[in-house]
Symmetry: C2
Subunit: 159 residues, 2 copies
DNA sequence: CTCAATTAGACAGCCTAGGTGACCAATAGT
DNA sequence: ACTATTGGTCACCTAGGCTGTCTAATTGAG
């Protein structure tokens, strides 16, 4: 049913997933098998200045406890480090490691590649218009990245 | 960073959430407080013919076990019924109740209203082009609706 | 300067909504 | 008839949210 609002919503989600799933699959193919969209976005936020758990939580619109869990995972995998903040003994300063940056850069490159492919399909001007309209729709609201966890699991009917 | 693939993905997710969050909030305002996007989409799939747990799972690209869980919730709230299938004793035939249809129709109406508002902002022809491009991007892949669970929770830093 | 309020982080425990594997009953296909 | 497939259920796991409570450190008001 084209022209339906619900279908528009489905398409928007579908578009997001089309891009994101492809990135995660490609990252896995390159050896980064346990990266999730939320990790990408978290690392992006950390490099953008959210260098403590509480701040990261605020950036991602999740609680500081949840942010701490995500950070723990990133730390385990060697994507971020936590060391003492010389100016505030309560804080653990977050830093993305070289490995983390590598994944981040590769993820961005794959995203850009997908966008380029789409741009060639529909035309540069058209894509610009598309993005402008979408920006108008979304406005200035921050985008919440929760509920993205299992975004990349394989399907599979088992029973 | 406009022109970035990652930003495009963020915008697509943001667009979906903008629409969906607004629908859920409005439904809650109208007294349907525990409806989640996944419920909307599940009821839609059931009316579209996915009248058993296994089929619903396939439609939503989730396992039949997860589908059964969702169905249990819908049944508890009186949105769907399950009765015996006269042609197949294994199946429990799903049917959306009058109440379920009410919610479904209202949800659709709100979605359509939001789409109309946007249409007025950017123009009918523009929106059509937008949807065509988006359809091209998404292609024929079914859209997975998992990970939508907490999509409507309030934020709130507590500790 | 002291003391209350705030903040960062850790720990415990809960919830939701996914997932898997194992199993049984019923159906379908050879 | 016998086997394979399918629908449904049970038990249990996992990820990533959540809250509440606690300690330690910092901030700010008097």
């Amino acid at each position: 049913m084209p022209g339906s609002g619900a279908e528009l919503a489905r398409l928007l989600l579908g578009g997001f997933r089309t891009l994101t799933d492809a990135v995660i699959v490609e990252l896995a193919r390159r050896g980064y098998e346990d990266v999730r969209p939320v990790h990408e976005f978290a690392m992006r936020a950390i490099t953008a200045g959210a260098d403590s758990a509480s701040e990261l939580g605020r950036h991602l619109s999740i609680s500081k406890q949840s942010a701490a869990k995500t950070i723990a995972v990133l730390q385990e995998r060697g994507y971020v480090t936590r060391d003492k903040d010389p100016h505030d003994a309560r804080r653990k300063r977050l830093q993305v490691t070289a490995l983390g940056f590598t994944v981040l850069r590769q993820g961005e490159a794959i995203f850009d590649e997908l966008r380029d492919q789409w741009e060639q399909q529909i035309g540069t001007a058209e894509l610009e218009v598309f993005e402008r309209h979408l920006t108008a729709l979304v406005g200035t609201r921050p985008t919440r990245f929760d509920t993205l966890g299992q975004l990349t699991r394989d399907l599979g009917e088992t029973g």
